[in-house]
C-alpha cells in the first residue's frame, strides 16, 4: 500500500519566504511527488497552531509520513517528532528539510533558491517513504558518578553531587587533591588567599560520607555505556597503609633523604623521599617516592618504618586494581604548564633569574620555599626590578595558537604582589591586555594606579649580553615598544615568564578510554561550544574545567557545578533514552570476514566464534555507520540511515537532473 505523505513548508516569517517561493514549493510538491496527500505552507510551522495543523492532518487524512521543510533539524526536529507522536504517528516516520539555514539564508536569488528548495523537499519526501518506525531504548542509570581529577573543577563537581546525596568516586593521580589552585598564593581579582578558599573544599571532599577518594590513582579502563559504566582504576602503591596512617608526619620529618620538589614546589623547594606534597594535603597519608628512597634504591635505611608509631609503612605494598560501577563520568583533568625551555631566547634554564609563573607563584606564597619572600635564585637578594613576559607559548602558531585566557590577569596579580612585598619596579610586556570578566578591567586600572609599568610588545629576547655599563650584570629584556614604534632594552634583575596553559600530555589517551575526542589543540570537545558546553558526544561523559579549554577559577567552578547538575538530571530521571540509530548485522548473510570488527572505535562489534559471524552490541553502538559503508557483503544496515533511505534521498535531490536525462534537452 502506498504511503500517505504530508508536506509542510514553513515561511518562518520572511526568513524563508524572503528568498524561497514557499507557496510554489508546496504547490509543486503536492502535484509532482508521488504519494503526497497534503502539501501546505504556513507562516510559522513551529508555533502551536502549526503543530496542531500537522497533528490534525495526521488524524484526519490518515498520514503515514510527514515532512516539515523549515529550519535546521538541530533546532526543531524534536518539536515535530513530538507533534507526530501526539497524533499517534511514530516519530521516526518524520523527516525535516532545512530550508532556512541551508537555502534561504545563504542564497540571494529567489528563482534559484526555490529550485534548490524543491530538490531538498523532494529528497526528504523520497527518503521518508522508506523510513521505519523505531522505538527509542531506555536504560537504567546507576546513581554513582566517577569524577576524574581533584582540582577545583573536579572538587566542585564531586561536592555538588555528594551534597545532593549521590555516591561519588573522586580519582586523582597526585598524592593529594587540590590541583594547581593549591600552588597559588592569591587569586585575582579579589586577592583572596588561594589556600584559604580551597582547603575547606579539599577537607570536605576528604571527609564526605558520599565521596570515595582515590588519590595517587589513575583511570585504567572504561567499558559499558551511559547509565552503566564499568571502570578499572589503578591505585598506585603508596607503601603506606592508608588505614593505619594517622598523618602525624613523623616519617617525613625523620626521613634522611631530601630531594628537589619538581612537583608542587615547581623545583624551588625540597621534600623528603616519603612525603605529602604540602601541609594541608588531603589525604594526609604520605607516599614513598621509590626512585629516591634510600631503602628502595640501596636496600638500606627503613627510618620511616622505625619511627612510625602505627606501623603503617609497608614496603611490600603493590599497585591495586579497583573496579567500580558508575552511571556517569565527569572528566576534570586540568592542564599543564608550557615548557618554557622551548623558547631558548627567553633564557629559562640557562639564565638563573628567569622564572616561570608557577615558580613565581611558589615564591610569593607564604607557605612556599621562601615563606613568601620574593628573592632571586640565590635565595637572598631582593630584586630591584622585575619583568613579567606575557604570552610565552600562547598566541604563537609554533606552540599554542590559542590565548591562555588567564595569564594577563595572573600577571597583574603577580605585579600587585611584587609591588606590595618589595620596592621593585615591575614591567609587564604584553601583546594585548585581556581583562574581560567581572572586576578584571578594574583590577588592571588598579595596577596602573599602583605604578606597574606596561610595555606593549612581545619580548624578542632576554639576554645577559650587556652593551653598556648600565646593563652589566643585569638581564636585559629586548623588545619593540609597539606604542612608540621603537626598540627598547630594559635591564632588570628578574624575569617571570607567563607560560601557556596546555592540555595534559595524556589528555587524548584518557579521552579515547572514555570515547571522547580532543580538538586540534588537545582540549576535550564539548557537545556544543555554546549551548552544551559540559556534555560530550558520548552520553554519560561530561567535562569540566581547563581540560575543556583554558579558563580561570570561577569558570572552572561553574563548569564543575554545571556538570554535576547535568549528572543529577540523569540520575533523577533514572532512565536514559538512547536514540535507536544503530547498526545491525544480518547474521544469516554475514561472511565473517571481520573487516567491520576493527573499524569500530567503540568495540561494539563482536565476533561470534561459534557461528563464524559478527554481531553489533547494540548498547555500545553509537550509530556512526562506518561499518555499514565498509561491509563488503552489504549486510550491515544502519537504522534511520540505511542504504535504501540514502539512495532515495539522492534520487529525490536529483529529481530535476533525472528528468533532464529522461527527456534530453532540445537546444
Amino acid at each position: 500500500m502506498a504511503e500517505r505523505i504530508g508536506i509542510y513548508v514553513c515561511h518562518c516569517g520572511s526568513n524563508i519566504a524572503g528568498t524561497v517561493d514557499v507557496e510554489e514549493v508546496a504547490r509543486w510538491a503536492g502535484k509532482n511527488i508521488d504519494d503526497v496527500i497534503v502539501a501546505k505552507d504556513y507562516k510559522f510551522m513551529c508555533s502551536s497552531l502549526g503543530q496542531a495543523m500537522i497533528e490534525e492532518d495526521i488524524k484526519k487524512e490518515g498520514l503515514t509520513r510527514v515532512v516539515v521543510a523549515a529550519c535546521s533539524p538541530h533546532l526543531h526536529e524534536k518539536t515535530f517528532r513530538r507533534a507526530c507522536e501526539n497524533a499517534g504517528l511514530n516519530p521516526y516516520l518524520f523527516q525535516m528539510t532545512n530550508l532556512r539555514e541551508h537555502v534561504s539564508w545563504v542564497c540571494n536569488d529567489k528563482v534559484k533558491g526555490t529550485a534548490k528548495a524543491k530538490a531538498m523537499v523532494a529528497a526528504s519526501a523520497e527518503r521518508v517513504k522508506y523510513q521505519q518506525p523505531l522505538t527509542p531504548m531506555y536504560v537504567d542509570v546507576n546513581p554513582a558518578t566517577l569524577v576524574v581529577g581533584g582540582g577545583i573543577a573536579g572538587l566542585q563537581a564531586a561536592l555538588e553531587l555528594a551534597d545532593a546525596g549521590y555516591k561519588v568516586y573522586l580519582v586523582e593521580r597526585e598524592p593529594s587533591v587540590g590541583g594547581h589552585m593549591a600552588q597559588f598564593d592569591k587569586t585575582f581579582p579579589t586577592l583572596d588567599c588561594s589556600a584559604c578558599i580551597l582547603t575547606p573544599k579539599m577537607s570536605e571532599a576528604g571527609q564526605h560520607e558520599n565521596i570515595t577518594l582515590l588519590t595517587y590513582s589513575e583511570l585504567e579502563e572504561v567499558s559499558g555505556s551511559v547509565g552503566n559504566f564499568k571502570v578499572k582504576i589503578r591505585k598506585k602503591a603508596r607503601y603506606v597503609d592508608y588505614d593505619k596512617c594517622t598523618g602525624c608526619g613523623i616519617c617525613s620529618e625523620k626521613c634522611p633523604r631530601k630531594i628537589v620538589d619538581e612537583g608542587f614546589e615547581a623545583g624551588l623547594g625540597t621534600r623528603k623521599a616519603i612525603y605529602t606534597p604540602f601541609p594541608q594535603a588531603v589525604p594526609r597519608v604520605p607516599v614513598i617516592d621509590t626512585e629516591n628512597c634510600t631503602y628502595f634504591t640501596r636496600g638500606k635505611c627503613q627510618v620511616c618504618s622505625k619511627v612510625c608509631p602505627t606501623e603503617a609503612i609497608d614496603y611490600e605494598q603493590k599497585d591495586e586494581m579497583v573496579e567500580i560501577e558508575v552511571g556517569n563520568i565527569i572528566l576534570a583533568t586540568g592542564w599543564k604548564l608550557f615548557d618554557c625551555k622551548k623558547i631558548p631566547q627567553y633564557g629559562y634554564g640557562r639564565l638563573a633569574n628567569v622564572f616561570t609563573n608557577m615558580e613565581f607563584e611558589r615564591l610569593c606564597n607564604a607557605a612556599g620555599p621562601t615563606n613568601g619572600k620574593i628573592v632571586m635564585r640565590d635565595g637572598k637578594t631582593e630584586p630591584k626590578s622585575i619583568a613579567i613576559i606575557h604570552c610565552v607559548g600562547s598566541r604563537d602558531v609554533n606552540f599554542n595558537e590559542g590565548c591562555s585566557a588567564v595569564c594577563c590577569m595572573a600577571a597583574l596579580k603577580l605585579g600587585h604582589l611584587i609591588l606590595e612585598k618589595t620596592k621593585a619596579e615591575v614591567y609587564s610586556f604584553y601583546i594585548d591586555m585581556r581583562t574581560n570578566q567581572k572586576m578584571y578591567e578594574e583590577f588592571y586600572q588598579r595596577l596602573l594606579h599602583e605604578g606597574m609599568h606596561f610595555v606593549r610588545g612581545k619580548v624578542a629576547e632576554v639576554t645577559d649580553a650587556a652593551r653598556n655599563p648600565n646593563e652589566q650584570g643585569k638581564l636585559i629584556v629586548q623588545c619593540e615598544d609597539t606604542l612608540l614604534g621603537k626598540q627598547r632594552r630594559i635591564p632588570v634583575d628578574m624575569v617571570v615568564l607567563m607560560g601557556a596553559i596546555e592540555p595534559q600530555a595524556d589528555a587524548k589517551e584518557l579521552g579515547l578510554k572514555c570515547g571522547i575526542s580532543c580538538s586540534m589543540a588537545g582540549w576535550y570537545t564539548e557537545r556544543h561550544p555554546k549551548l552544551d558546553p559540559v556534555a560530550t558526544m558520548t552520553d554519560g561523559v561530561f567535562v569540566a574545567g581547563t581540560c575543556q579549554g583554558a579558563k580561570d577559577i570561577p569558570a572552572s567552578v561553574a563548569q564543575g557545578a554545571a556538570a554535576a547538575a547535568r549528572v543529577q538530571g540523569m540520575i533523577t530521571k533514572g532512565k536514559v533514552m538512547i536514540e535507536p540509530i544503530v547498526a545491525t548485522i544480518n547474521e544469516e548473510a554475514c561472511s565473517g570476514c571481520r573487516i567491520c570488527n576493527n573499524l569500530c572505535p567503540y568495540n561494539a562489534i563482536e565476533y561470534l566464534e561459534d557461528k563464524g559471524v559478527s554481531r553489533v552490541i547494540t548498547a555500545l553502538c553509537k550509530g556512526c555507520g562506518t561499518c555499514v559503508a565498509a561491509c563488503p557483503a552489504g549486510v550491515i544496515s544502519a537504522s534511520h540511515f540505511n542504504n535504501q533511505q540514502v539512495f532515495a534521498e539522492i534520487e529525490g535531490a536529483l529529481w530535476d537532473a533525472i528528468a533532464e536525462c529522461r527527456e534530453p534537452e532540445t537546444v
Binding site: 598566541r395 604563537d396 602558531v397 612581545k458 624578542a460 619593540e480
Partner: protein, 190 residues
C-alpha cells in the same frame, strides 16, 4: 590583524606584497606584537619597524613604505622570521620591498641598491664575484671617502694573499648569460 580590504576598495598594496613574496599571505595574520622589531639587530636604527611597515602596507601607504630605510637595514639574519608567532616570512617580505623600491626608484639615503647593482653586474660579467672589482667600482662611484679608510685593510688582505687582482671567470659564460637573459625576459613578461 590586517585585513585585505582598504578604504578605496581597489587592488591594494597589501595584495601586491602578498603576490611578490613566497608565503606572503601570512602577513594578514600579523598581531602587531613587535617581536620582529624587537629582534632585529638593526631595529634601533630603523625608521619604521617591520611591524609598523606592515600596518602601513595595510593602510596602503605605498610610497612611504617604499622610501623607508627599514628594508635597507635588514641584514637577512632571519631572527624576525623564526621568532614571528604567526610564521610571517618577514625577511622575504623585506627582499620583496627592496626589489620594489629599486624598481620604482624610491630607495633613499642608502648605498645598498648601488652595491647590489655593482655586485649583480660583476656576476653577470664574470660568473663569479670579484672582491677587488666590487670594492673599487662600488667605492669609487659611491663612497670615495670611505675608500681611503679601507686602504690599510685592503693592503693587509693583499699581503696575506686574501685579495686577488684579477677576476675569475667561469668557462661557460655564454650559458650563464643565456639563462640570465631568459630569466629577465620571463620576469619582465609577468
Amino acid at each position: 590583524m590586517i585585513s585585505k580590504s582598504n578604504e578605496s576598495g581597489t587592488s591594494s598594496f597589501l595584495e601586491e606584497v602578498i603576490e611578490d613574496t613566497p608565503g606572503g599571505e601570512r602577513i594578514v595574520h600579523c598581531l602587531q606584537c613587535g617581536s620582529c622589531g624587537g629582534s632585529c639587530p638593526n631595529g634601533a636604527d630603523m625608521q619604521y619597524t617591520p611591524r609598523t611597515l606592515f600596518a602601513m602596507i595595510n593602510a596602503n601607504q605605498r610610497e612611504a613604505v617604499l622610501s623607508a630605510n627599514t628594508m635597507w637595514m635588514c641584514v637577512s639574519c632571519y631572527l624576525c622570521t623564526t621568532r614571528c608567532p604567526q610564521n610571517i616570512p618577514i625577511t622575504d617580505i623585506m627582499y620583496a620591498l627592496k626589489r620594489k623600491a629599486i624598481a620604482e626608484k624610491l630607495a633613499k639615503g642608502t648605498d645598498a641598491p648601488a652595491l647590489a647593482k655593482t655586485f649583480t653586474d660583476l656576476l653577470d660579467k664574470y660568473g663569479r664575484s670579484f672582491e677587488l672589482g666590487l670594492a673599487s667600482r662600488y667605492y669609487l662611484l659611491n663612497r670615495p671617502v670611505a675608500m681611503l679608510k679601507m686602504g690599510p685593510m685592503g693592503l693587509s688582505m693583499f699581503t696575506r694573499g686574501r685579495m686577488s687582482l684579477l677576476p675569475t671567470k667561469i668557462k661557460n659564460l655564454e650559458q650563464l648569460r643565456a639563462i640570465i637573459h631568459k630569466a629577465r625576459e620571463l620576469g619582465d613578461a609577468s
